[in-house]
Amino acid sequence: MNTVLNSNRPLFFCPGCSHERVVHGVDRAIQSLGLQGHQVAIVSDIGCSGLFDTFFNTHALHGLHGRALTYATGLKMVHPEITVLVIMGDGGLGIGGAHVLASCRRNLDITLLVLNNFNYGMTGGQCSTTTPASDQTASNFLNKLEVPIDICRVAAAAGALFTEKVMATDGALAETISRSIEFPGFALLDIWGICPGRHLKKNPITAGQLEKKMRTSGGGHSVSIGQDRDLPAEEMEVSVREEYGEHYRRLAAVTKEPQPLIEIESKFSPLTHERTEVVILGSAGQFINTIGEILSIGAMSSGRWVSQKNDYPITVLRGHSISEVVVDIKPITYTGINKPAVIICVGQEGVDRRRKMFAEADADTVIIAFPDLTLPVTGARVIMCDGGNLKLKKGQRGIAALAVLVQTGLILDCDMLNNAIKTRYSGMMADVSLEVVATILTPSLPPEIS
């Protein structure tokens, strides 16, 4: 195989820099795997390791500090056939820590080479997340206050199945890189090296001494969690987990087609001939949003334009729930409420939320309410809904109120409401709702007007 090094871009590192060894290691690994340049994408970030993509005749994506894994993830998901190699330093490791952890959990087939030289070289030798507390750095005493992280241990804890430490000077570097590329999932290589430009002078160490340190560091030379290791059952389950991309495609292949948009045909004669605003005031759990939708579908089935705006807090089953519906003979302009024609009150929280609206309402406004609610003083006409002697559940009040709305002759007639219920609901929900409507609209039970 031929080299994938870019002959137009000679290596440009400080004399003695470990990065140079890694460039050649990557080149030899790519060759040994029989890969051509167009089959490989090198994704890099910022700092001295960020120069890597320029040295190779491969696809290249050079982006922001610590974010290389994010680009690699998107790229690999749309091009699973490409070998994606991410290069970052210990700087990118720190700033992009969340992406490293997520990549370990995700197990997408990406290889991450961490060029770990224990400091921020390019910016002048400040401490990084891997700098030993005893080192002298351009960050003065600050590195003495924090402990360095061992990324292999962190990555393994986060679910990475291939984590290994290797010296940049190791004769087996290329072979180790090859194995990490061949691993069918996320692989992390922690490559220890020396930064002669910014770190070595104040922290003299030889490659041999560094290697010795690596061997005695937690986990030793290799902390690879391969499929062949003798692991407890639950960990073994983790170790054989599927590569993310394949897993995604397998699960995506059995997802269901989404629901198409429901076409509402205009088939009833409209009752509204001008802009008509309805506010539904209720409590969470009363299906207020759906009641607003049923009202809207009903109005649409008479050829009217509709908008629906909801207001509810972040909680589920607690707090207010309000729906504002505007019906008009032309496309809705302002979606807010100028002066409501109808205020439907089904829950106290909603009523309390819009007290001002009651004070402002006059006899042009109809209020449909339930007897157990405390309504603010109002000049509007109030129609009490007794539920047609039905023992209504709290969640059925909205449908009952729409039936009372039918009795007022405003917006909906019985056919529109029943049609809207059947459009929005199916099965039990439809049956129960239709029964509530039928019971309330029995002629023997006229609404009580106060």
């Binding site: 871009r9 051509q36 340049g37 167009h38 993509d53 320029t54 005749n57 696809h59 290249a60 994506l61 050079h62 982006g63 922001l64 974010r67 994010t70 680009y71 690699a72 993830t73 998107g74 790229l75 690999k76 998901m77 749309v78 091009h79 490409i82 969340a98 992406h99 952890l101 997520a102 995604y248 495609r249 699960l251 995506a252 997802t255 087609e257 989404p258 948009l261 076409e263 509402i264 045909e265 205009s266 939708e293 809207s296 579908i297 649409m300 509709v306 908008s307 629906q308 705006k309 909801n310 207001d311 509810y312 972040i314 496309p331 809705i332 302009t333 302002y334 979606t335 807010g336 100028n338």
Partner: protein, 362 residues
């Protein structure tokens, strides 16, 4: 044909699918979350990719990586997410990576009110990148617009290889309304901005499916996409990236004008506020006032020529926005001697037709 009932967020997602979106990545945030849910319903059954990032930075990063591989991509968030996107947006501009970014705006500053609407991110979208190069910002008035402008956004992103923002608003994204079904049936609506013929000097129409190597870089570069410090090369590249959008402001321009000859006042607005303005306009005209309404749908790049032409001959301009005064800066610099009156409201409530009438009559 009948009508359908849906909100702006669903309209954005449906348009994205119709535009051929291959890849979506998002991170949940009110009021944009439902776009993610819809994309998760739509993309996997089509064999395409929808992902949830570990944060917003990752979500847009996934998109940029996928776009570098030739995919049509979209992400969606709200103001706090745009803040986290910022550095990646700069990358997309500098490396010329096409992406559609939906900002369903909510009330700021900061985490603000998650469930309240606003148009407070307008200048942030334009200037929230390092280097200050232009971007495209489209702003929908209603659900139909959300659909049509998203289709255009994909087209513009591919053609100009840059980020295109949909500056939506909780009051558009999460408000449902009836829309003619035919709007959703095809691309006919969008013939007005079909511009395939014009060739553009963009670098690297990325595809990793050929043996030709693709390079994209966030560093200053020339046409070879290698980092450079050559001032001439850098300057030329910056100028090209700026001018590819500024020189196209006419083609990118989308606006609606309701004007009668002899109107003395021009009411200018955009987004959901345009709906209240339409009602205010009817009221003002009934009262006998000669008022024109200009609804801007392409906020950036500023269509200077088109805007000036609408301002010409007016005695007064009134700008209304759901913020404390952002786009009015653009109007003021183009208005010349015409006095510009501003009205803004930033409390989570819609601006009412009545308050617009009041401001115009001031």
């Amino acid at each position: 044909m009948g009508s359908v009932f849906l909100d702006g967020n669903e309209a954005v997602a449906r348009a994205a699918i119709l535009a051929g979106c291959d890849f979506f990545a998002g991170y949940p945030i009110t009021p944009a979350t439902s776009i993610f849910h819809h994309m998760l319903d739509f993309l996997p059954p089509l064999g395409r990719v929808c992902m949830q990032g570990e944060d917003e930075i990752a979500s847009i990063g996934f998109c940029l990586g996928a776009a570098a591989g030739g995919a049509k991509v979209m992400t969606a968030t709200s103001g706090p997410g745009i803040s986290l996107f910022s550095e990646q947006i700069s990358f997309a501009i500098g490396a010329e990576i096409p992406i559609v970014i939906v900002d369903v705006q909510r009330l700021g500053p900061s985490t603000g009110s998650a469930t309240k609407g606003a148009d407070g991110d307008i200048q942030f979208l334009r200037w929230g990148n390092s280097g200050g190069l232009p971007v495209i910002v489209l702003v929908p008035v209603d659900v139909k617009d959300a659909f049509v402008l998203t289709l255009r956004a994909f087209h513009f992103a591919q053609k100009y290889r840059c980020p295109v923002f949909i500056a939506s608003n909780k009051e558009v994204g999460m408000v449902r309304e009836s829309v003619d079904l035919e709007v959703f049936s095809g691309l006919d609506e969008d013939k007005g901005c079909s511009c395939e013929s014009e060739s553009l000097k963009v670098v690297n129409p990325a595809s990793l499916r050929t043996k030709e190597l693709v390079r994209l870089t966030s560093s200053t570069h020339g046409v070879d996409n290698y980092i450079t410090t050559d001032p001439q090369v850098i300057g030329d590249a910056i100028l090209r990236m700026e001018q590819k959008l500024l020189s196209a402001s006419g083609e990118l321009c989308c606006m609606e004008v309701d004007a009668n000859p002899g109107d003395s006042t021009l009411l200018v607005t955009y987004g959901v506020t345009a709906r209240a303005a339409a009602e205010a306009l009817i009221s003002l005209r009934k009262q006998g006032y000669g008022v024109s309404l200009l609804v801007i749908k392409t906020l950036f790049p500023v269509a200077e020529g088109e805007l000036k032409s609408e301002m010409k001959g007016k005695e007064k301009i009134v700008v209304v926005e759901m913020n404390r005064g952002q786009y009015v800066r653009e109007i003021e610099r183009l208005a010349g001697d015409i006095p510009v009156h501003f009205y803004g409201q930033m409390n989570g409530e819609l601006i009412t037709p009545a308050s617009i009438v009041r401001e115009v009559l001031q």
